[in-house]
């Protein structure tokens, strides 16, 4: 398995290389540049600025310069956020996005697994239908609708429960205080809960009909043990391959949730960077994202082998 992992990691290098190349040239095809502004700069100054960032060189030379720096781990300076390197910006934003994303994912897996399993155990009964309808709502209502509605209820109108005021702050990060995290985490996790519940229910229904589960029941194990120790282990297999890319996506920050709640993660760098032609920043975030996707997919495949003894990465 170790050799398989190493082979996969080596295989990821050309993939990353292609992504970097594609993204680099796509960014540059787009008209405009990072130093275009309403006010025309004197040509000498503009030329000096461009020269400082190597933007006056032919495109292929810029490409090789970028690659050269990249191999030394240098993502370059940000064009728009003066005095910051891309690495610094990402190092600032990533922990915030990661904390938010991982909390949301943890909540989603926990609730998704529980509700999905309950739905499967009550297949085609009222509980099943209501859980699956709720899941459908979670999938179909986009985050940018859910976020304002929840903000309106808990933030603006304010809700009190048993005499306690449970209204929540509607935005800001405040260093990751729990009160500030509740709403964004809920909004971020709702669609994930829905997807995970549906996945779990689907595979759980199949597993519960299999022979070894019947055997486990026949030898007199309690229903709880049958479900948790025997069925769940097989039923989470499809979940594992879903979670890889999903975690990568959520780690790099959700554009919408970060924008609505004013959270200083790295999600906003994507859009702002692309719009401002902040080439290095967009490339930097993209490289992080792609690396996460590749690593987490590998992790998911390895975990698959651990969970499912039939899968072996020999050869």
């Amino acid at each position: 398995m170790l050799s398989y992992a190493i082979r996969r990691l080596l295989g990821a290098i050309p993939t990353l290389f292609i992504i970097i190349t594609l993204a680099f040239f796509m960014m540059r095809i787009a008209p405009g540049g990072p130093f275009d502004s309403q006010r025309r700069l004197p040509p000498e100054i503009e030329h000096n600025i461009k020269a400082a960032y190597d933007l006056d060189k032919p495109l292929y030379q810029q490409y090789f310069i970028y690659l050269g720096k990249l191999t030394r781990g240098d993502l370059g300076p940000s064009f728009k956020n003066k005095d910051f390197t891309v690495t610094e910006l990402i190092a600032d934003g990533l922990p915030v996005s990661a904390k938010l994303g991982l909390s949301a994912m943890f909540l989603a897996v926990l609730l998704g697994l529980i509700t999905g399993t309950i739905a499967a155990l009550r297949q085609n009964k009222a509980t099943d239908y209501s859980v699956m309808s709720m899941a459908m709502i979670g999938i179909t209502i986009p985050t940018f609708v859910m976020a304002p509605i929840l903000t309106l209820i808990f933030g603006v109108y304010g809700v009190s429960l048993f005499g306690y005021d449970i209204s929540l702050p509607v935005g800001g990060w405040n260093g990751g205080a729990i009160r500030n995290m509740i709403l964004p985490v809920i909004v971020l996790s709702l669609p994930q809960i829905a997807v995970i519940a549906r996945l779990t229910r689907g595979s759980m229904v199949e597993v519960l009909h299999s022979n070894y589960v019947r055997t486990a029941r026949a030898k007199g194990l309690s229903s709880f043990q049958v479900v948790v120790r025997h069925a769940l282990r097989a039923a989470i297999l499809p979940l594992v391959s879903y979670l890889g890319p999903a975690i990568a996506g959520i780690l790099t920050g959700s554009l919408i949730v970060e924008q609505i709640f004013g959270i200083p993660g790295i999600g906003r760098y994507f859009v702002n960077g692309a719009l401002n032609r902040d080439y290095t920043l967009v490339m930097g975030v993209l490289i992080y994202y792609a690396t996460f996707v590749i690593l987490l997919n590998l992790l998911a495949d390895l975990l698959y082998a651990v969970l499912d003894p039939r899968v072996r990465y020999a050869r």
């Binding site: 993204a23 890319p245 993209l286 792609a290």
Partner: protein, 312 residues
């Protein structure tokens, strides 16, 4: 005790056999789909929304871009909270937006745009995905590996980045928005089609076609693509809502449809900004969009169950 088969008897059986109609896969699927209540309700609802979107703007009193500063952000007359009423007159059933445009006609116009985006983007992804997947699966070997590797690479680029870049390059062109969304939605489609093709091309009828001299292009278009239709149809009904969502997501970020033209995403984004003072501007478009997405998902689920040979 067997009845000897006389010529008479054989003729009779043959005659009766002509009347017995076999049920094809699609007929069978249709029956099963129509037995699924959620799917039928969804089909009806979706037809109503489509009809409203197509006909509504012709029938209603206001054009979608008619600005009237005397009725800015007016609640509909039946709104329960009297504090925000401004008596805009009975004809603004959904109220008006922040520059006094009729929200009902804008919601229906937005439905046109959103549905069009969903359908056209899906069509684009269908054409690219099916062609690409079928070609890769049919050719197999090195070519297949290379082609699917390319798909893997595109998978690890966040699609929103691709769309943003495409929108920036093509300067927020209305039609290219469709194409851009379609061009990033085809990846899963091509994977599905490739997988199906790999198993179909081992079947005897492909061998028979090859033996009778059909070339590769003919085999792909006439024999393979018709046979991968089942899973593709299911995935198509799920791509339409995904495309609608993608468009509204972009519009929410200000990269999609531009004013005065509108879509559900634009309306929801406007409504979210105004929701404290004018919640109807969020509620109506959001409801329309959620119901539409609901319907597509239910139809997709229904089709999957109907076409699944396992629980026949």
């Amino acid at each position: 005790m067997s009845v000897p088969f006389s010529a008479d008897r054989t003729a009779e059986i043959m005659e009766r056999a002509v009347d017995v109609k076999g049920r094809s896969l699609w007929e069978d699927a249709r029956r099963r789909l129509f037995r699924n209540r959620a799917a039928v309700v969804s089909i009806v609802t979706l037809s109503v929304i489509t009809l409203l979107a197509v006909l509504g703007p012709f029938v209603l009193a206001y054009p979608y871009d008619y600005i009237d500063y005397s009725v800015v952000s007016c609640a509909p007359d039946w709104w329960p909270d009297p504090a925000v009423l401004c008596n805009a007159g009975g004809s603004h059933w959904f109220g008006t937006d922040s520059v006094g445009r009729d929200l009902l006609v804008r919601t229906l116009y937005g439905a046109r745009v959103s549905l069009a985006v969903g359908l056209i983007a899906t069509l684009v992804s269908l054409v690219i995905g099916v062609t690409y997947g079928a070609t890769a699966g049919y050719l197999g070997g090195r070519v297949d590996e290379l082609m699917m590797r390319f798909v893997d690479v595109l998978y690890s680029i966040p699609y929103i980045f691709l769309v943003i870049i495409l929108m920036v390059i093509f300067n927020r062109n209305f039609f290219l928005l469709f194409v851009a969304i379609g061009a990033v939605e085809w990846l899963t489609m091509s994977r599905i089609v490739r997988g199906q093709t790999l198993s179909i091309k081992q079947k005897e009828f492909i061998e028979a076609a090859r033996a009778s001299g059909v070339n590769g292009f003919g085999i792909i278009t006439r024999h393979i693509i018709p046979n991968v239709f089942g899973p593709v149809v299911v995935y198509v009904t799920l791509t339409v809502p995904a495309s609608i969502l993608a468009e509204s997501f972009l519009s929410f970020l200000g990269l999609g449809i531009q004013e005065p033209l509108t879509s559900w995403g634009v309306l929801i984004s406007e409504g979210a900004n105004q929701m404290e003072t004018a919640p109807w501007m969020l509620i109506f478009p959001a409801m329309f969009m959620a119901v539409t997405l609901f319907c597509f998902n239910f139809i997709g689920d229904g089709l999957r169950d109907a076409l699944d040979p396992k629980d026949r």
